[in-house]
């Protein structure tokens, strides 16, 4: 058809890739700041301030990846957007209220009169918890094919708990990196306490996914496709062992390697996410609607793609700038 082949074939694939990338960046970046919120009750008042300081300059941009992810679903796969979000009406509403509460609590807890501060701290915790739980629930329902029944809701409840613990784990590794002394040691303990959520979560989803769908079962256990998939569980296993080994010895002398747990946790997310993407491709609504069936008109996608090619590198560039400006241990956030 033209130099690049049929755009009706490669454009949906490119957009599914972009959407997947946005979701992955979102669950890592907002994952750590949601996790910090979930860990709030375990910290005292001064520690809460430092934990907020460690995520303050970043949380807003982190959440924007969710807007981009749902935006790409909306613009590139409009029919899937409607099907998925109407099926997940209630958990989405709970997540949105959670996001509202925690987003404004950032500002209010610093600006409201001191006696009200603990109220906003609670709102921050509650919002983070609601958001994490509902996202985990949606993940579970999605894996189960968006069918509402007791068994699926039960499974989704489990994934809700595990994802929340998983977020608190990656949040703890962020706090290890961004703080020192007592709070850092506490965060090491939190990370040790939270790693099981990640392991059980990934394990549960890995067991359930092929059982729900014969198609995915074939994809996993037929030769030689199984060979393609095999590095994922092996590397994930090694990462978990390494994390555990590292956390038992942290913090190291002179705070060396404090970023490693976060980096390892991020790699673990990437593995888990890669496995899911591999399993569900080419479906955007599991076993009902493929990305090719759900895609918008090629000319509309093309217009977006051109913009993306220019804008995405810029976004990555200034995101890196922001993380560089606010690198190092978190200090009190001052407006001057």
């Amino acid at each position: 058809m033209n130099t690049f082949g049929d755009p009706a074939l490669w454009l949906p694939f490119v957009f599914a890739g972009l959407m997947g990338l946005s979701i992955l960046i979102y669950v890592v970046l907002d994952g750590f700041d949601l996790g910090v919120g979930v860990l709030f009750p375990f910290a005292d008042d001064d520690e809460k301030d430092r934990m907020i300081a460690s995520i303050g300059p970043f949380w807003d941009a982190n959440e924007t990846w969710l807007v981009l992810a749902v935006g790409l679903l909306l613009v590139a796969f409009p029919t899937a957007h409607g099907a998925i979000l109407t099926a997940l009406y209630l958990p989405v509403a709970i997540m949105l209220i959670g996001l509202i509460l925690r987003g404004v609590a950032f500002e209010f807890r610093a600006k409201a009169p001191a006696p009200h501060k603990h109220l906003w701290n609670n709102a921050f915790f509650a919002g983070s918890l609601m958001t994490s739980l509902s996202q985990g629930f949606m993940l579970g329902m999605y894996i189960m094919g968006l069918e509402w029944n007791w068994a699926n809701a039960g499974f989704a409840t489990l994934t809700a708990v595990f994802l929340t613990v998983g977020y608190s784990f990656i949040g703890a590794t962020w706090v290890i990196h961004k703080t020192d002394e007592h709070l850092q040691r506490k965060a090491v303990d939190w990370a040790k306490g939270g790693i099981w959520g990640l392991v059980l979560g990934i394990g549960l989803i890995s067991m359930a996914t092929p059982l729900v769908s014969a198609r995915i079962f074939d994809k996993w256990f037929s030769w030689p496709e199984a060979l393609l998939l095999s590095p994922l569980p092996i590397i994930s296993g090694l990462l978990v062992v390494w994390l555990w080994w590292m956390l038992r010895r942290m913090p190291y002398m002179n705070d060396r390697w404090s970023y490693l747990p976060f980096a390892a946790a991020t790699s673990l997310w990437v593995m888990a996410f890669g496995g899911m993407a591999y399993s569900f491709y080419p479906y955007v609504v599991p076993d009902q609607l493929t990305i090719y069936e759900a895609a918008s008109a090629p000319e509309s996608l093309f217009i977006i793609l051109i913009g993306t090619l220019f804008v995405l590198p810029a976004i990555l560039g200034y995101t890196i700038l922001a993380y560089t400006v606010f690198r190092g241990k978190a200090t009190d956030l001052r407006y001057d």
Binding site: V67, T308, F326
Partner: protein
Amino acid sequence: MMETLLLSRIQFAANISFHILFPTITIALGWVLLFFKIRYNMTRDDRWMEAYRFWVKIFALSFAMGVVSGITMSFQFGTNWPGFMETVGNIAGPLLAYEIMTAFFLEAVFLGIMLFGFSRVPNWLHTTATFLVAFGTLMSAFWIIVLNSWMHTPQGYEMRDGVAHATDWFAIIFNPSMPYRFTHMVVASFLTVSFLIAGVSAFRWLIGGRTAGVRVALKTAVFGAALLMPVQIFIGDMHGLNTKEYQPAKVAAMEGHWETGGNVPLILFALPDQEARENRFEVAIPNLASFILTHTWDGEVQGLNDFVADDGTALHPRVAPVFWSFRVMIGTGVAMLLLSWAASFMMLRRKRGVEGLPKPMLYALVAMSFSGWLATLAGWYTTEIGRQPWLVTGVMTTQQAVADVPAPMVLGTLIAYLVVYALLLGAYVYVIFYLARKMAQGKDIGTNVAPSTAAAPKAVPAE
């Protein structure tokens, strides 16, 4: 299904009404902050930085409120209005995508540097960050108003199998109502911010916080409002003429005219009765509506009765809400014009500045702190309710887009949103005046983390 439609509409209206309050502030406040920052860079005069430091906190708070309520809407397209994207997704999609990519990330990333980076980055980078945040909010307003305007006056598309396909992106972006709606909204934002700054500064002045920073903020705001009000009236008039051309049914509802004809009076007060198709208790000025809408005294204006289908169903919006929203907007605008001119006159007379404002004038400014919100909301209600029964004029009705979600579920989430929004709105207004009071008492509000343990307040500069 009818109940789900009505509840979904109320829910979306509640969400978007709550949301638009905050962009209305941040769109213009970003530029006002940039103005303060540039004035500081030029003069190295601390009063500009004092004004910057206070208002950047209000900006941060408003921005957070805007972000979280905006996320809610991007999801509600899918949860409540799947038909919208299924039918016009090929046009709405790229516009929304460009908003996210060119605006949201720019704002969100540089906001961190703007808020917390002053002592961490070189001054030029901090000023640049302020500019990029202001620019990002304006871009965001641009793209979303392009989409909104396209829904009012669609062009540059063709329908294939019931789905809109883009044929001319230039025509889509520069659709007929976009330039008017965009400038009208941006100026509305500057007016809203002017009255907010004037009101809060007057409040600080009244309770004794008579610093140089309050003085410059109050002056900038009042003079800005006085200059912009006539501009806004002019743009509003142009926007109205544009609406008359492309959406005559909306203008007929705004004016409360049932019959087409010339020598049309301007109705000041009436109770429109949709069933009887007439106005009760009408008070009107002869021929003035003809003059405003056609710029001739006897010009012909289309009436609502022209927009009724053969089977009697109305193809125009419900009249009363449009009619009244429009009057609330105009009334608030007139009050804003009079107040800003009176205050400017008092400050300019014998060059007395802020001292020239008597107490009742300062109280009036405080009372009008949120007048911009009222006028903006009333204006949006006029134009959005005025588009009904269409969601995209001539392409699809609102009813065609709604999701088949059980009504009780929509009611449940609606109540939850309303409770959260009411609490947050209360907290927002309360915190603004709390911060203002704290500043007036000379307390430091510089830290974002632990106000109680912050350093001792700086000495207030002498007059």
